[in-house]
């Protein structure tokens, strides 16, 4: 990703070339955020921290002081969506339109898929795919996010709805495909990180975080 002069003068290219072996994947020395001089520094920094220790959520979510909060939130959400694809792939094995024909977590919460022009009821796995696609579209949209260096306040406001929709993938996995969820969570701590992320930046209401992940008793939606 970015170049760095080593002491001996050799340049490190932080790239995964075609044919890179699995054990060599992303195996390059860490770099301090301040040293990074690419436009993708924030993403690089987040990914580096995650690779190092995905359980150290506080550290991953600790924003470098010089950074704009909007950019920080944006980059994290991008990362979440990318990593959620991993969960989606695992879910595909088990979550089929025949068995999970609605996007549901607990019984009273069945959701419409907002990725369409007219929101409609999609099967859970379709919801997952559509929503992740929709999120990718929005986050890469030239209209709202033309730059990754500075982000307009009005565009930051769009992140909340992405979080809200993406979170349902976690809750569906948790309530209907618990084994997959647990395996994935142990590996990545993604749901925990996501929960902390949206709580920290007030992107979702606590009551809507219905996966009991933070240890403390989450109330969940009472009846509504």
């Amino acid at each position: 990703m970015s170049k760095m002069k080593m002491a001996d003068g050799a340049t490190i290219l932080r790239r995964n070339r075609p044919g890179t072996k699995a054990e060599d994947f992303c195996r390059w020395p860490d770099e301090a955020y301040e040293e990074m001089d690419s436009t993708l520094a924030v993403q690089q920094c987040i990914q580096q921290l995650i690779r190092k220790d995905p359980t150290n959520i506080d550290l991953i979510l600790k924003m470098p002081e010089t950074l704009d909060e909007g950019v920080w939130k944006y980059e994290h959400l991008r990362q979440f969506c990318m990593e959620l694809n991993g969960l989606a792939i695992r879910l595909q094995e088990e979550c089929r339109p025949e068995t999970c024909n609605q996007m549901t977590a607990t019984e009273q919460w069945i959701f419409l898929c907002a990725a369409h022009k007219t929101p409609k009821e999609c099967a859970a796995i379709d919801y997952t795919r559509h929503t992740l696609d929709g999120a990718a579209c929005l986050l890469n949209s030239n209209k709202y996010f033309p730059s990754r260096v500075s982000i307009k306040e009005s565009s930051v406001a769009k992140l909340g709805s992405v979080c809200r929709r993406v979170y349902r993938i976690f809750s569906h996995a948790y309530y209907h495909h618990r084994t997959i969820f647990d395996e994935f969570e142990i590996e990545t701590c993604l749901c925990k990180r996501f929960t902390q992320f949206v709580t920290k930046y007030n992107l979702m209401s606590k009551d809507n975080l219905i996966v009991p992940i933070l240890g403390e008793a989450t109330i969940g939606e009472s009846e509504a």
């Binding site: 022009k117 909340g160 209401s205 809507n208 009472s222």
Partner: protein, 801 residues
């Protein structure tokens, strides 16, 4: 009411029973009125449902049902939870959240003490809602409801569609409208604080990523409603939202003025130094031509028009120099000497008034008290200088030069608009004056450019089309623009006070009539007022939408404007508007179809007085109906826009006998209304005949006073070549040709076949596959036999020629 006292010269004259209307034309009425017009009085019981939805939601969140007492944090949390609930499959849960949000947008009125407090909370809540993307969420909800076929089927099967059928749609539209209206209000206040909110709102509405923009979606709703496929669509709310969205996205009068200025400067034209709206604000209304006295006057002042007109034309810049007046008249029109005597009285009055007032007028026109005259009705208000700078078009100078050359030199120089060789001095002077007053409009330049492209399609390039907001909207509307126009006019027709319920092809009352008809007298009175108010608001919205679109398209590109106006004309807009004015216009302007104590939010705040016949009128102090004058002016302006410089359409005004209708409209004592009526009368005067002119001298004088003069324009008597009424078909067709060429080039993928290279490669020409019908392919041998082999072709004949 926005009342600007100064604008009318220090107050209105109240002498006599017909006093001037103190009405200030603007983009919209006051914010409070615009909000209250969103709700019909029959919707009032539903307001309580909003509070109930709120209370239920709050209970489910274990929070007290008091919004004001919630911390900021809790409020945000509630909004986020509600938005989450909006995406739930279960419709009742979804709509409960929507209602709850509507209650928030309405300012949580159950907790407030006054209208001002309600407004404050509305603003606060709407901005909070905006921050969390509520508008986009409700756009999604609107999509669901538009596609909701069950609701349409239920409504279609009913004999009478009622309020209940549009309940959900009305909640959604009300939220969208309230947000739009609050944001629009913020954008007007020029506060820096919410500038970004306003900008991002506009961007969200107008810029789309391949999706249909909301404005077009709403127009689609209007056409769907008019086609009869969705009788339950609440048209009033749709139209109001449509109007406000166009207004906030494209901009109102001030924005138009600035944009015009900018565009003119950009292409090197001088900035316009007059603003119609501004000038007209300083004008005073004329007393209407009372029919009886008018006739009497006409008998006294016989045939006195012609010299007067000439005088004005010759003395444009020196009106106060009256000493030479008689001479001018004598020398200019010898044949009219016999009419001089009749005129003298008029001029005496005019001169003395001028001498008296000139200085005072120049010094403090604004504070000048109205002329105190005991018998004012029947006298002409005397002009104090011309309100408008006279204009002339280059085309008219060329025509003038042409005719002068023919007369004095004996031949014409085609395409030469400068040479004065051989022409006498007076012509030189005339040309000089004309040139001083030349006004080139943006449209003329655009038409020139179009002609050039048509002539040299390869060497002239269009240049990049600037993607202004208007351009985006035009492109989005373009494929279905004719249908939109027809639909809007259909609704206008149905809402016009003169149209009979029986002839309505569409029922615009579906979103107002309750399921149970009123039982008591009071209830039916209330419903009667409500129905009229409903119609008036629809007329207001439609007229405002049409005018806004016309104005913006015209500024963006003249042929966009012509495209829209041509479709309006084809859809019979001109007779429709005339039909609208063919009513008791004074009654319409003075109509009081309002029950102030039932207006939102007054109807839910504080103690409610019991509704009786007496309390119906409490709080209504206005001497006229703002919305009705507003609609009238809009419709008159639309009519002006459609007919200006278009002989064929002016002839429609004549054919549909608009003159008496328009003349009656002059009774509305409001300068702006009168100005637009006078303009319409001016353009058709020469077709109305001598008799009409003779008996309408007062109107003609008013035209002289108030309407801009066009140098060289013989509007009252002329028979210029340009005005051949018989070939109006050709004129309209030529215009259509230009418009189609413009549209095809810019907005359709079909390129002109004439400009494509000819394919003369044998294999590719033979390789083109044709769609042949099944019967042909099975029987082609028979065809060969009959059409080819049995037909003897003497190929030698080809060579012989």
């Amino acid at each position: 009411m926005v009342i600007s006292q100064e604008a009318f010269g220090g107050g209105c004259s109240t002498s006599g029973d017909t006093s001037d209307l103190v009405f200030n034309y603007d983009d919209t009425d006051t914010h409070a009125n615009e909000i209250s017009e969103l709700y019909s009085y029959t919707e009032q019981p539903e307001l309580a449902l909003n509070v109930r939805a709120f209370e239920e939601q709050m209970e489910s969140y274990n929070l007290p049902p008091s919004w004001q007492r919630l911390s900021m944090e809790n409020q945000q949390s509630v909004v986020m939870k509600l938005l989450n609930q909006l995406e739930i499959c279960d419709k009742s849960l979804r709509m409960r959240a929507a209602r709850c949000i509507l209650y928030l947008a309405q300012g949580c009125w159950a907790e407030v003490q006054s209208d001002a407090e309600q407004l404050e909370w509305t603003k606060k809540n709407v901005l909070l809602l905006c921050k969390f993307g509520t508008f986009a969420a409700f756009t999604d909800l609107l999509n669901i409801e538009i596609e909701n076929n069950t609701a349409a089927h239920v409504a279609l099967r009913k004999i009478a569609v009622s309020l209940a059928d549009s309940q959900d749609l009305r909640v959604i539209l009300s939220v969208l409208y309230t947000i739009t209206e609050i944001v629009r209000n913020e954008s007007n206040s020029n506060s820096v604080e919410y500038k970004e909110t306003v900008e991002s709102f506009i961007n969200d509405v107008i810029y789309h990523d391949g999706e249909e923009i909301l404005i077009v979606k709403l127009l689609g709703m209007v056409t769907k409603f008019c086609s009869g496929a969705a009788p339950h669509f609440p048209m009033k709310k749709v139209l109001l939202l449509l109007w406000k969205l166009i207004l906030i996205c494209l901009g109102g009068m001030n924005a138009l003025k600035e944009m015009k200025m900018e565009k003119r400067v950009k292409v090197g034209l001088p900035a316009p130094d007059e603003d119609t709206i501004e000038v007209v604000r300083t004008m005073r209304p004329s007393s209407p031509p009372a029919s009886a006295s008018d006739l009497l006057e006409a008998q006294n002042q016989k045939r006195n028009t012609r010299p007067f007109r000439r005088q004005i034309l010759m003395k444009q810049s020196s009106l106060d120099d009256h000493d030479t007046l008689g001479m001018e008249l004598d020398s200019s029109v010898g044949e009219n000497n016999d009419e001089m005597n009749d005129l003298s009285e008029f001029y005496d009055r005019r001169v003395s008034e001028n001498n008296e007032n000139n200085e005072m007028y120049n010094a403090h026109f604004q504070n000048r008290p109205p002329t105190p005259s005991p018998n004012q009705s029947g006298t002409i208000i005397v002009p104090r200088g011309l309100p408008w700078k006279p204009k002339v078009r280059q085309k008219e100078i060329d025509a003038f030069l042409d005719s002068s050359r023919l007369k004095f030199v004996g031949f014409s120089l085609h395409g030469d608009s400068t040479t004065l060789a051989g022409l006498p001095m007076p012509i030189h002077e005339g040309v000089k004056i004309l040139r001083e007053h030349v006004y080139t409009s943006l449209s003329e330049l655009q038409i020139q450019k179009e002609e050039e492209i048509a002539r040299n399609p390869f060497s002239t390039t269009e240049g990049e089309i600037e993607m202004t907001k208007t351009e985006i909207l035009y492109q989005a509307m373009f494929p279905n623009l004719p249908q939109y126009m027809i639909a809007l006019l259909k609704i206008l027709l149905a809402a016009a006070p003169t149209s009979k319920a029986k002839t309505d092809s569409i029922n615009i009352m579906a979103d107002i009539l309750p399921e149970e008809m009123p039982m008591t007298v009071l209830q039916s009175m209330k419903l009667g007022i409500d129905v009229n108010r409903h119609k008036e608001i629809i007329v207001k919205a439609v007229s405002a939408i049409l005018l806004l679109l016309l104005k913006h398209f015209k500024l963006n590109h003249i042929y966009q404007f012509e495209f829209m106006s041509q479709h309006l004309v084809f859809a019979n807009c001109i007779p429709l508007v005339l039909k609208f004015f063919n009513q008791n216009i004074m009654a319409y302007v003075g109509a009081k179809n309002v029950i102030p104590i039932l207006d939102f939010p007054s109807c839910v705040i504080g103690d409610q007085p019991e509704l009786t016949v007496e309390t119906l009128e409490i709080g209504d102090a206005s001497p006229y109906s703002w919305r009705n004058i507003f609609s009238c002016i809009n419709l008159l302006r639309i009519l002006n826009k459609l007919t200006k410089w278009k002989h064929s359409r002016i002839m429609m005004l004549v054919v549909f006998k608009s003159a008496p209708i328009l003349k009656r409209t002059l009774k509305v004592r409001h300068a702006m209304t009168q100005l637009y009526v006078l303009k319409l009368l001016k353009m058709q005067t020469k077709y109305l005949g001598r008799q009409w002119r003779k008996s309408n001298m007062k109107t003609i004088s008013a035209i002289y006073q108030k309407v801009r003069h066009r140098l060289n324009d013989d509007w009252a008597f002329g028979n210029d070549l340009d005005a051949r009424p018989w070939d109006f078909q050709a004129e309209e067709c030529a215009l259509r040709g230009s418009v189609d060429r413009f549209n095809n080039r810019r907005y359709s993928l079909v390129s002109d076949i004439d400009y494509e290279p000819v394919d003369n490669c044998l294999s590719s020409v033979l390789g083109i596959s044709f769609d042949l019908s099944e019967s042909f392919t099975t029987n082609y041998e028979l065809w060969l036999e009959q059409e080819v082999f049995s037909n003897c072709v003497n190929w030698d004949k080809l060579l012989e020629n």
